[in-house]
Homo-oligomer: 230 residues x 2
DNA sequence: GTCTATATCGGGATAGAC
DNA sequence: GTCTATCCCGATATAGAC
């Protein structure tokens, strides 16, 4: 999106993105018009479209920018987190905290989840790079958590945890409790439950359960292993 | 939506809805314009808006119509289904089969799920009546399934199963496998897994697990018991 | 009450001049 | 790279035919 050619162009792109985010926050995604965004940024509507080919592209740009900016924050948060439960909780907490001022923007993102072909879907190729960064963190949490993960489950767990994260975020964008307190409570409890489940999954007694889970995972992931289709 | 005043009016409303559904199927929700829909139905654009105040209203009307039409089909399907697994599977299968020709319409519905305030959200007040019918079926499946449900879990299980259903449908609308074969496989296996889980939940050994589950359910359902917010 | 026809508006997106 | 003008679409409004 953002042409890096000249400093001036980059400044314009940033100016437009900032104006867009502010208006999204104030009036929501649909309430903010491209005309308003352009005017607030001090450019013509056509100029806005020069940098961002669509209104959705502004959301995508924010998402990419956010992902990059969150990497060091996640690193720092995980440095102080021991174990799977804490790792999971802190990783997702960083995201909720970071996105908090821009919940309407995230809603605009998630509403296209039902259509994997939509560029803004969390499952789309366009957001694939961001997904890859996320998965890397989940892999790290799992390998650092200190207890053994069953070999058959191990390669799929990052995807499962990623889906868990999406579920929490989905709940969070729709959560109207003050400060999204319910979401944070849910995250606390659910992270603990997931950690216990992963731990229990290693027990010999749990082999049949694991087998069923693996079958479900295989169906959801589909014939191609490259993506998480839904 | 549909004025029942005169047969002629009802016929017009139906004609417009049919034209809309056909165009949605052909070009998707966004690809079909109100002008096209009206022209295809042989009426003026204003007439379409006379019956359906918005494009979304067409989707809502379809959803309501579908819900009503599915009731006897569900009744018939459940008559031949014994046990929780079969009941769950057949109930959801009826819906997938019924909706199959109109997957794009259902996508238009589900994409607003991230915003409970949107009229088309499956969690919105406007779709509340449909949700109530659904919940009644889940209650019936549970009470007919033949084994005891723990007292503490019982009042919440219909909501949980409803959410499970939404998950399957969400997967189904994004499923591009031929005939949505993957979705049906998922439904088969997942219904079995859910049934086993419910059965196991009654074991004395499972009390602590049940307690955690109940806590999660309480957080998700929120302070008001009237609705399933997300 | 059930429409047609038409004008109008706001908003996303594009083309082409500069 | 940026702006102006324009197009299309969803939605609203209105006047009037039947």
């Amino acid at each position: 999106m953002a042409r890096k050619a000249t400093p001036k162009a980059e400044a314009s792109a940033q100016k437009i993105l900032d104006a867009a985010l502010e208006l999204f926050r104030e009036r929501g995604f649909d309430g903010a018009t491209m005309r308003d965004i352009a005017r607030k940024a001090g450019v013509a509507t056509g100029a806005a479209y020069y940098y961002y080919p669509s209104k959705d592209a502004l959301v995508l740009a924010f998402y990419q920018h956010a992902s990059a900016e969150m990497q060091p924050r996640i690193e720092a948060a995980l440095a102080g987190a021991r174990g799977l439960e804490a790792g999971l909780r802190e990783l997702i907490r960083v995201k909720l905290d970071y996105f908090a001022p821009n919940r309407p923007v995230l809603r605009a993102l998630l509403r296209n989840g039902a259509d994997p072909k939509h560029p803004l879907s969390p499952f789309s190729p366009e957001t694939g790079a961001i997904r890859a960064f996320d998965l890397e963190w989940f892999r790290r949490i799992l390998s650092d958590c200190g207890f053994g993960i069953p070999r058959d489950l191990a390669p799929h767990l990052p995807d499962v945890l990623w889906l868990f994260q999406m579920g929490v975020i989905y709940f969070w964008v729709t959560d109207d409790s003050p400060g999204q307190a319910r979401s944070y409570r849910l995250l606390d409890r659910a992270a603990k439950a997931v950690a216990v489940l992963v731990r229990l999954s290693a027990l010999p007694l749990m082999r049949p359960v694991r087998k069923v889970a693996l079958e479900l995972i295989a169906i959801v992931k589909g014939p191609d292993d490259t993506a998480v289709p839904a």
